[in-house]
Symmetry: C2
């Protein structure tokens, strides 16, 4: 039985790495991951799942091939399954990702920003 309270601010104080999702909670097979992001990520998609971005601090832009969305603190966005996207943040931005366990941050695209998908903090 999970009786823990997760405090996002406290969890962020435990790491400084960027583009390296840290799992803080799980509901059924869905994981909640904190990530520090800055600069440009890799173009990728997730073949089998939608993906949720919630901005906790800062500003995040998610580029699509023909458009983009900009998220500020207190805003969320769902990237649909199979749709190519590329997150970008001009300054460091703190986000909460919600996605199924095992989802790899770069999808099948690979590259040097690929991070382990199973790190709890």
């Amino acid at each position: 039985m999970e009786k823990d309270v997760v405090n996002f601010h406290q969890k962020f104080s435990l790491f400084t790495e960027q583009w390296s999702p840290k799992i803080v909670a799980q509901m059924n097979n869905i994981q909640f991951k904190l990530v520090r992001v800055e600069g440009d990520f890799t173009w990728h998609d997730h073949k089998d799942t939608d993906e949720v971005f919630i901005v906790l601090e800062g500003q995040l832009r998610i580029d699509y091939r023909n458009s983009s969305v900009t998220l500020n603190e207190g805003e969320m966005h769902v990237v649909a399954k199979g749709v190519e996207h590329k997150p970008f943040a001009a300054k460091e931005c703190k986000i909460l990702l919600v996605e199924p366990a095992g989802t790899v941050n770069t999808g099948d695209a690979g590259g040097n920003k690929t991070a382990p998908s199973d790190v709890w903090i």
Copy 2:
């Protein structure tokens, strides 16, 4: 393809009812619901799913039969499948629930706080 940005503050400005979850986004079969809560809810459990509470504003206490957890803004908690719980807020509190589509707010317990589980805003 979902290209909308959900702003929690703006969505809360659209309703004042309490204990009446409003769906703002869906990822696969998982829904994100905004709720205003105040006072005591009904003891209940969810037989088939865990449930996530994230506090966006205010303070929420979740009572268990033999313990409780208190969540402030920027904190989250997972209520495990099948475990009886009762949310409580001394003053109005704004929360984000994450749970599978079709999850009823009172589980099988019923009562006058049971709300429709399919209202989008």
